[in-house]
């Protein structure tokens, strides 16, 4: 099973605000809002309960801090959010080289996230203009211009996945 977790700040996101100002300075006049999520894609042994994994991650407070984060999640393969308006796009930026083995060992060991085999992490960015979501071409431009370093990172612009809010 693959499970994707998104952590959003519930306190003001200074980095997202900096990106908003920087992208406007770089020529994106119509940009009105930038949102950012920390994304963790978990590879979990089949047969493990999705609810249990989320509970353990939330309780561990290693990735997630309840005082400043909101946690939502989706099972992979991801499905786009349903809606009648313009499609919402999300850019997922990841480092081309990463090493999460010690983080996996920490979560699977002392914090009892049973069945966790591997983990990949990245940052998701969502852009909005004054009258709705930014088009895919603008999100790609933002990745090329600022959000992703072409030498050390890769990006994927994808439909915004439908995620369940963790309410427990």
């Amino acid at each position: 099973m693959r499970l994707e977790i998104a952590l959003d700040l519930i306190v003001p996101d200074n980095t997202a605000y900096t990106v908003l100002v920087a992208l406007r300075d770089l020529g994106y006049d119509g940009l009105a809002r930038v949102e950012r999520s920390h994304i963790f894609s978990l590879d979990v042994q089949d047969g493990t309960s999705e609810r249990e994994v989320i509970d353990r991650i939330a309780r561990a407070e290693v990735l997630f801090n309840p005082n400043k984060h909101r946690l939502s999640y989706a099972l992979e393969p991801l499905r786009p959010t349903a809606g009648n308006g313009a499609p919402r796009w999300e850019a997922l930026v990841t480092d081309t080289e990463d090493d999460t083995r010690s983080l996996v060992a920490l979560l699977a060991g002392p914090f009892h996230v049973h069945g966790l085999r591997a983990l990949a992490r990245g940052i998701a960015w969502r852009l909005s203009e004054t009258d709705g979501p930014a088009p895919q071409s603008r999100v790609e431009w933002a990745c090329r211009t600022l959000l992703a370093n072409p030498v050390s990172q890769r990006y994927e612009v994808r439909p915004l996945p439908a995620r369940k809010e963790n309410t427990q």
């Binding site: 080289e97 370093n149 030498v151």
Partner: protein, 256 residues
């Protein structure tokens, strides 16, 4: 610091300060002790005034709080655009730690990036040995040093791993652009143990460990017993980077 009177003929160096820069004062001191007329230049000053300087040092710290990626926001700023133009004319640019990240993000090194330290993936702070590589004359900031010279420097970063495509690093090796390497194993996972990488022309150096934090005896005497008998304010070890810079500036006329 060593007292030295500045003269009107001293090369003029701008030490760039972004919001979050934290190594500017010791960088100015290191430049002045090497015989350069250094002064702070704030990110909010008129970028055109930068053109009057002979060289630039992008100091260490956390420019714009390292938001998005270390150096990414600063690299898009108008003053870096001017520095890049002046570098293309041949002026010297030294990027130290966060300044190196700005230099890399601004594309002044070609297809080379500074990424998260691996496997640590977090901030590391330690004194490291940095070794001058085989062709120090390749770069203005190492020209005059002997190959194999070991200098202690202060490593203090979380995103300082030089990385790039294997072909890009083969090119760096072929053209001897990795002028400074970590002695022993790379502490941050940098490819080819790269600590300092210069551009093809040799007038821009991105150096991850801080020479300015290990530029006087008092910085390093506790780790190097032979220095305990010296004047603690005497320039030591890594100060050589600034002396090489000053010598290069005195050798060549400033490009206009």
């Amino acid at each position: 610091m060593t007292a030295r009177e500045r003269t009107v003929s001293d090369p003029k160096v701008a030490v760039i300060v972004f919001p979050g820069t934290n190594s500017e004062n010791e960088t100015v001191d290191a430049c002045r002790d090497a015989g350069m007329d250094a002064r702070l230049f704030w990110w909010s000053e008129d970028p055109e005034r930068l053109r009057a300087f002979d060289a630039y040092v992008l100091a260490g710290g956390f420019a714009h709080e390292d938001r998005v990626r270390a150096g990414a926001i600063a690299a898009k700023s108008p003053i870096v655009a001017v520095i890049k133009e002046e570098a293309e004319k041949g002026k010297l640019v030294l990027g130290l730690c966060n300044g190196a990240q700005v230099v890399a993000e601004a594309g002044m090194l070609g297809p080379v990036a500074l990424a998260h330290n691996l496997p640590a993936h977090h901030f590391q702070g330690l004194l490291v040995d940095v070794v001058v590589d085989r062709e120090p004359q390749r770069c203005a900031f190492t020209d005059g040093l002997a190959p194999g010279t070991v200098m202690t420097m202060a490593l203090a970063h979380g995103e300082g791993r030089f990385t790039g495509a294997p072909a890009a690093f083969e090119d760096l090796e072929e053209h001897a652009r990795i002028v400074l390497r970590y002695g022993g194993e790379s502490p941050n996972g940098a490819m080819d143990r790269a600590a300092g990488v210069c551009n093809d022309r040799g007038n821009v150096l991105a150096l991850m460990p801080h020479p300015e934090r290990a530029a006087w005896s008092f910085n390093v005497a506790f780790g190097e017993p032979e220095l305990r008998a010296h004047d603690p304010n005497e320039p030591a070890g890594a100060h050589a980077i600034f002396r090489c810079m000053a010598a290069a500036l005195r050798r060549q006329p400033t490009p206009k």
